[in-house]
Symmetry: C2
């Protein structure tokens, strides 16, 4: 059975709560996009295939024929098997860090601008994560909290996101300042190499 990472993720999310393709797309957009990108055009065919494989079933059909899916026992078993029997693919692709190895080809003021863009972009992400954290904490105060379940797992992931962004911004700010302070040495090294 060909089952992608995305399909397993959809099964796992629906295991927590029956959901429509629209609801899943919003969940990816709001919460999961920093872990795994997924958009409507990928989600709908994956759901149809999972239904055909007997891993999901349609639990409700709403207005405009919107289908809500629930997981089947086989679906739960499939995600559990994936989590238990396979190691996560820990391959990293970070185009920014890759570009950093080429950054000496630009002038120091361009390298400083590169880091300014990074800092700004990651500050925006951090603000988004901190907003989500504040919303979650308000919800927990109102409804209480449990030390398990998907909400707890999501809160651990959010904590990682916040730690990551804070650390990244701190590193990028230091790197930026070091380039700005040593601008002359940077430009000299560049000219020596490029002639």
């Amino acid at each position: 059975m060909r089952t992608s990472v995305l399909s397993r993720a959809l099964l796992g999310l629906i295991a927590a709560e029956p959901m429509s393709g629209y609801g899943l797309a919003r969940l990816f957009e709001r919460t999961l996009a920093r872990a795994w990108p997924a958009r409507h055009p990928q989600i709908y065919p994956a759901l149809a295939e999972l239904e055909q494989q007997g891993l999901l079933r349609v639990s409700e059909t709403g207005p405009r024929r919107r289908k809500t899916y629930a997981v089947t026992a086989n679906g739960v078993a499939e995600v559990q098997r994936w989590l238990r029997d396979t190691a996560p693919d820990r391959t990293v692709r970070n185009e920014t860090i890759l570009r950093l190895f080429m950054l000496w080809l630009l002038e120091s003021r361009e390298a400083v601008a590169f880091f300014d863009d990074e800092i700004e972009s990651h500050r925006q992400r951090l603000v988004g994560f901190e907003q989500t954290l504040a919303d979650d904490e308000r919800q927990r105060r109102e409804h209480g909290t449990a030390q398990g379940g998907i909400a707890f797992c999501a809160s651990l992931a959010l904590e990682w996101g916040i730690r990551y962004e804070r650390e990244y911004i701190e590193w990028a700010t230091q790197a930026r300042d070091r380039i700005a302070d040593g601008a002359k040495a940077w430009d000299n090294a560049r000219e020596r190499r490029l002639g």
Copy 2:
């Protein structure tokens, strides 16, 4: 002209120093693998294509016909254009964090084991980075250092790698301990949901 991220990276690395496909593959393996995965079967055809496009030229042919490539002026301009005119793709794929959203489907002891594996795997990465840092610092003491050039850029990337791994291990250790301490609540929440 179709030029991939990998091709641009190859151009940028060769701009610092003429290199063979073998040398580039080793460089990716030892230094760049945590930013961008690339293996021999991808590197050799990319180099041949860049030569055909006039962005690289063969600067030397060694024993067993090993070619050393040097960048051309057009090649340097192509990397600079890429760095200047396009924003990096900041899409993140982190299968571990994605899996975390499904982790409540496993028993608490399995969730603890998941984090133990993560901690062990990232400790190994950190040890590798710290070894590279120690080697670099020895080289700097022996040969002096400059505030620019590719060595400086590589040292910034290495610093990020070390910060990332330390932060990750700290987070994963806290998460592991919280799950271990609240194991009963975790397993109860799971049973309520899965029945």
